[in-house]
């Protein structure tokens, strides 16, 4: 396992483009979060301090930072599709297999790299949230701090699922740009199918089915936190209430998709003549 991960890391980290993209997708969000936690004086008119809004309070901070950081996943998605696209365009996938890597090992080395970067990202976001939280939060009791840390798990699973989807699309179309276009098409078609379902049945049934779609199920893991912040400001407005918690069935759906994408990538490679 370490050998396969090591292989993939050498391929990625010696490539300048992917190095920059990895930096953008994993390191940049932490700087942004860190910066936003600093008191900013807007041209002397007023001071903007997000900490004052209570958004860095435990446990809401877990929700906020994981949601925010997951928006940067798109940059690593480019890395994932190009690490497949490059293997095809350089024909190094053929050479790797001739050199004695099995098709299964090839897919696994890509998957391990995805797990590795998702894990690092999760650990980093966990640490930074903890530090900012401890600094700003009004409540620092242990019980409150560890409440909703399952957002971290959701963040990890969300990255894993999304990158596995990118891996599969990369294997399917072999070209990075087309794979990203495909991702966009998938996003749109999920909404079109949702629209059709609503028209055929009703909104309630349609949204139930939509929760099983790959992209929607990943989104469901960490829903937008703004409404929640608003809720905490205006607790009397009941129409703002929504279900933002991480549920086990949501995790299972995404993990199911992840397994399916990796399995299909392997089947696809196995069937193909290179």
């Amino acid at each position: 396992m370490l050998r396969l991960l090591n292989l993939e890391l050498q391929k990625l980290l010696l490539n300048r483009t992917s190095k920059i993209l990895i930096f953008i997708s994993f390191i940049l969000p932490f700087f942004v979060i860190l910066l936003s936690s600093i008191k900013i004086n807007v041209f002397g008119f007023f001071t903007l301090e997000l900490g004052e809004l209570g958004v860095f309070n435990f446990p809401i901070i877990w929700h906020l930072t994981t949601f925010f950081a997951s928006q940067f996943k798109f940059f690593f998605a480019i890395v994932v599709v190009s690490m497949i696209g490059n293997e095809y365009s350089n024909k190094t996938i053929k050479q790797n297999l001739i050199d004695g890597l099995s098709k299964k090992e090839f897919i696994l080395s890509k998957f391990y790299a995805i797990v590795f970067f998702s894990l690092i990202s999760t650990v980093l976001i966990g640490l930074i949230s903890l530090c900012i939280g401890l600094y700003y939060s009004s409540y620092t009791e242990f019980g409150i701090i560890i409440r909703e840390t399952n957002f971290l798990l959701a963040y990890f699973v969300k990255l894993l699922g999304f990158f596995s989807l990118c891996l599969f699309l990369g294997m399917l179309v072999k070209r990075s740009a087309f794979a990203l276009a495909f991702l966009f098409v998938l996003f749109i078609s999920e909404w079109i199918i949702f629209g059709l379902l609503t028209w055929q049945f009703d909104h309630h049934v349609a949204s139930k089915i939509q929760n099983f779609f790959p992209l929607q199920s990943m989104y469901n893991l960490i829903e937008q936190p703004f409404q929640r912040v608003a809720m905490s400001k205006f607790p009397e407005k009941a129409e703002l209430a929504y279900d933002y918690l991480v549920h086990w069935h949501e995790l299972v759906i995404v993990l199911g998709w992840t397994a399916l994408f990796i399995f299909l990538s392997f089947k696809l490679l196995k069937k193909r003549d290179l």
């Binding site: 050998r3 090591n6 292989l7 190094t92 004695g100 098709k103 069937k271």
Partner: protein, 298 residues
């Protein structure tokens, strides 16, 4: 003899096209094999199948004694297929390091192998900056990293300039001299003739011949003769029981044998009959002539 690769009834179809049809042959340790055949005769497809990149339609093959999986067996094989494929953004040394990791071999071979192919001074240059000849030589270095039991080369001199072709041939000869088994696919007959001991001849995916180069067609060779008394010589050969036929071209007489006859005996007989030669060469058909004869017959 220890077998390295055994292929039995291998068939590959691409849709309605049959690229390889019911092919069987065995590669034994220590020999140098050539796979001969015109373009599109199934050479690369056959190699692709045994190298785990093309899926077979029917039949089977196994490496060594048949107890290792194909991908593990390939760790003991060095192979170059058509174009050299490496990561353009990595240097020569980094690319070789990656291959070492795939093959699970120690990294200390890299310098030595780069030395063999004459690329040691370019080891820290990016692969993308290499010329085709250098890329091909790096591919050979990469194939040698694990000190392979067998080296497989598919059209190794394709697209190279004469100097590059010469360099690659010299390297192949050096490797062959060390006793490494080599499998060389080529449509350049003269390339195969220069290095191979055994050949497999393919045409349209069907095996026409497999065996030693010199036993490819049942022939006893021919004499090339010149003589001042041409008419007498021709009359002598006509009557001689060992000769099948004669042809004359630009005062060079070519006489084909139908039974064995040594040049020493033949010369002696002529001398006793008062015919003195100015030119005597005993030859066997070149691989090209044999190949054309073989493919025409079928």
């Amino acid at each position: 003899m220890e077998s390295i690769l055994t292929i039995r009834n291998l068939t590959k179809k691409f849709g309605s096209l049959t690229a390889v049809k019911d092919l069987s042959f065995t590669i034994n340790k220590g020999n140098i094999y050539g796979i001969l055949g015109p373009n599109g005769s199934g050479k690369s497809t056959t190699l692709g199948i045994v190298l785990n990149v093309v899926n077979k339609t029917a039949g089977n093959f196994h490496w060594f004694d048949g107890n290792t999986t194909t991908h593990d067996a390939l760790k003991k094989v060095g192979a170059i297929i058509e174009r050299p494929n490496f990561y353009p953004y990595m240097t020569a040394a980094q690319n070789l390091k990656l291959v070492c990791k795939i093959k699970n071999v120690a990294l200390n071979n890299i310098e030595e192998k780069l030395e063999i192919v004459g690329l040691l001074d370019r080891k820290n240059h990016k692969f993308g900056t290499f010329s085709l000849g250098m890329k091909q030589r790096l591919a050979i270095a990469s194939a040698l990293l694990n000190d392979p039991e067998i080296l497989i080369l598919d059209e190794p001199t394709n697209g190279l300039d004469p100097q590059g072709i010469h360099q690659i041939r010299e390297i192949i000869k050096q490797i062959a001299a060390k006793g490494t088994t080599i499998l060389l696919a080529s449509h350049l007959l003269d390339e195969v003739e220069k290095v191979c001991t055994h050949v497999v001849v393919l045409r349209k995916g069907i095996k026409l011949y497999s065996g030693r180069v010199d036993e490819m067609i049942s022939s006893h060779g021919f004499f090339e003769l010149k003589c001042n008394k041409e008419a007498e010589l021709l009359a002598f050969i006509e009557k001689h029981p060992a000769f099948a036929n004669v042809k004359t071209e630009n005062a060079l007489i070519t006489a084909f044998l139908k039974e064995p006859l040594s040049s020493e005996n033949f010369n002696k007989q002529l001398f006793e009959n008062g015919i003195i030669l100015t030119h005597l060469v005993q030859r066997k058909e070149s691989l090209e002539e044999q190949f054309l004869q073989l493919t025409d017959n079928q």
